[in-house]
Assembly symmetry: C2
């Protein structure tokens, strides 16, 4: 075997993630390593925490990146907050709601699922019904369902959760950096995200944030957190302000990348970034409608950053994706679960969300349909 | 807040990891991203698996990088192989043996600890005694104890484990790529490693390998694996040869880096790489002895890649490390646990293991002592 260095082909990433990564973030990863306890790295960790708080719109002290992808962040939240037998209400209207159920059950939770059609939102009234005679430990909902392109009404659901005496946990993997996420204003107790969507950093870290109320719940646990790797009390010894005790070796270059990508998000401005995502979504939707293509998700609740587009009858959806990739270098995503074969998922996330990319994908689709 | 791009200071990384990363591995991480299901990425995944098998010296089909650091790899092994109530024998002669106990207990294992002095090896006779009237599910030992600089006698212990009808699990975080690791010849059923030691790739992935026997144990589980993120049956749907079902979004650029670092390991040759680590260890030891500095770990069982050096009486060990870093840009490690304040840990791992670096650290120490 005499393998060569891998040279990736040039792509325009308009799928459900990863999104394209800006040059300065790519450059950040090729800087030489320092140790994970190096004073310069520790200072940079503080800057990451501070920038993450600004992006999450929170003052939560416990805000840092977990050393794994978004799904590790999901597991981090459930593993720390749930003890065997705890009741959890989970909204399910896509793949990531289902994944929450799976993860929560593996943590020993007794799960009540509140289900809604794929492509529709979770109706707060459904959650309200489920909470009628219950006070679960946790209510958990995906903010931006990447599998269906739907934005769930977090703010209303969070109020219901708190009225029931529950903690509110949200998945912001696809929402953070692409549309408003207001952790403190909405009373969110726990949230996780991913780096590879609207933050336009490569995948590999999961920003998380826990409210003081969530931390109190962790502190009053009767059993140990089942995951050593994700135990927030241990992680706090490294990411906290104290002695920086060794827990695991932080992914150095991934943190360089996250630092730079957060810097770019704040340099652009959160509101400006949200506006950009909205404008390019509107432009895409207009271009699609001229091709007689329409968004599959509920009108008025469609994500700006991830567009589930109904595949026209008689079209070989896989063939279209394959041709887009091979002829134009454009990646778009397939449907998952009940949406498999029925939708394409066109992501306009972070650095990928540009007028130019909208023009390119519309033009390429026009040539293929 | 108007933060600047983080520019790391120049360091020579001679601590317990991360080690210095070769320029071509740093360059690999700054290449543009492709999707995690892109045909080019899938081909690269196959090359990574194939190269990992060569580096682990195994034909295990189930050989791939877990999307987390070495400790995630440890948790991967225990979480998949252990069910609540299973008996496990763990050798403990340093931090990472203790960590195994912690992780195994959180998976519900009933743990029998076989303890040895820090700085000494685990004596196979001790393991033999512990296995006298036992047939545990698993015997687990750290191969190269990063906290003490000791190489444990895996081959003998593995024989004893199999005689008792147990699976054999080893930690190769610090050994892989720096000294012989022979998964198949030694009859190892499960092993995990890290990228940031003798492979000289940044931290962020954990190469793992499971024997067919280990896979059979996973397949016959009565309970679900408690971690969704680390469940090998789900991961196999993405890393296996089949349909490449989406599980989590693989850390794209980290895999670019691992591909390139494995390529460099095989280009150098495993035997040549081991010899280089041995030669530089001998050179370091000679240089140290001229400064009246000596290795704290048991003679005849000292690691080539990680040298625990006794701090001379009356020396402020932290001050020496601090001066090395600020005056010469050289990072060495502190002692942990019972070795805290008593040893320095000088790593000569992967790309950091060079004659030039040995000269530099010896010369810098000479100036400080």
């Amino acid at each position: 075997m005499n393998l060569e260095t891998f040279t990736p082909p040039e792509r325009i990433l308009l799928g459900p993630g990863p999104s394209d990564v800006p040059p300065s973030v790519l450059a950040a990863m090729s800087r030489p390593l320092v140790g994970h306890l190096d004073p310069s790295f520790v200072d940079m960790m503080e800057e990451i925490k501070s920038m993450l708080r600004k992006v999450f719109l929170t003052e939560n002290e416990m805000t840092f990146p977990v050393s794994g992808t978004g799904s590790a962040g999901m597991e981090f939240c459930f593993a720390n907050l749930i003890e065997p037998g705890d009741e959890v209400v989970i909204g399910v209207n896509g793949v990531f709601g289902l994944r929450m159920v799976e993860v929560a059950e593996r943590c020993g939770a007794s799960v009540v699922q509140v289900k809604s059609e794929w492509g529709s939102i979770l109706d707060p009234a459904q959650i309200s019904d489920a909470l009628m005679n219950r006070s679960p430990k946790l209510v958990a909902v995906v903010h931006a369902e990447t599998s269906t392109g739907v934005l769930n009404p977090i703010q209303e659901i969070s109020k219901l959760a708190h009225r029931a005496g529950s903690l509110m946990l949200i998945d912001t993997v696809t929402s953070l950096g692409g549309c408003p996420v207001r952790i403190d204003d909405w009373g969110i107790d726990a949230a996780y995200s991913g780096t590879q969507k609207c933050l336009s950093c490569p995948p590999g870290l999961s920003p998380v944030t826990l409210s003081d109320r969530a931390i109190d719940v962790v502190k009053s646990r009767k059993s140990r957190v089942q995951s050593w790797y994700l135990d927030v009390s241990l992680l706090a010894n490294y990411w906290g302000e104290g002695a920086r005790a060794y827990h695991h070796t932080a992914p150095i270059t991934m943190n360089y990348a996250l630092h730079e990508s957060l810097r770019l998000v704040l340099e652009e401005g959160l509101a400006e970034r949200w506006d950009r995502h909205e404008a390019n979504h509107i432009k895409l939707k207009k271009g699609l409608s001229e091709l007689k293509l329409f968004i599959a998700s509920q009108e008025g609740h469609q994500l700006w950053q991830l567009n589930a587009v109904t595949v026209p009858a008689g079209t070989d959806e896989a063939e279209v994706r394959k041709s887009l990739l091979s002829d134009s270098g454009i990646e778009i995503g397939a449907g998952l679960g009940p949406f498999a074969g029925k939708v394409w998922r066109i992501g306009l996330m972070g650095y990928s969300s540009s007028e130019e990319n909208v023009d390119k994908v519309i033009s390429a689709l026009k040539g293929l349909l």
